[in-house]
Symmetry: C2
Subunit: 92 residues, 2 copies
């Protein structure tokens, strides 16, 4: 039974890896919701606090990994989102 | 302490709402990773099974809500991704 929880945690955490790679390659972020990743990072940070408070290493580690991945998508969204707005202003 | 877990769960689940709205409005999905949402839906489905097995209503309900939201982004990615590829083939 615990195996299902571990595989579930692995899938939900690892699922952000393809998005990080996709965004890193394309540098294109218009379709990604900034609010989603702001809320997600906040929620995952709270899960990390919760994992510490209840002394659960799996909650802590899974959410630390998710935080690193989600925060990197958020960082690229902020960075490449700003670059593309500058390019639009300059025009062709 | 449980309040932190509840707020964390709410944030991580609700974080998908802005992405669903953003994608519904723009119908543009090129920047969204298909593999992310495939893995995420699989992982969340496993969390639902796990929630049933351990008899945890909060794990079950939070992940049911996340599944509905993530699956709708996945559905739009599949649908609008195909439409934009058809448009590209037809050319200007």
């Amino acid at each position: 039974m615990e195996l299902i929880g571990i595989v579930a945690g692995f899938c939900t955490t690892a699922s952000f890896v393809p998005q990080v790679v996709h965004t890193w390659r394309t540098k294109s972020v218009a379709d990604i919701s900034l609010r989603m990743y702001l809320m997600l990072c906040l929620g995952v940070a709270l899960w990390i606090v919760y994992g510490i408070l209840i002394g659960s290493l799996s909650v802590l580690l899974a959410n630390l990994a998710t935080f690193v991945l989600a925060a990197s998508v958020l960082g690229m969204k902020l960075r490449y989102g700003r670059l593309s707005r500058k390019r639009d202003k300059r025009g062709p």
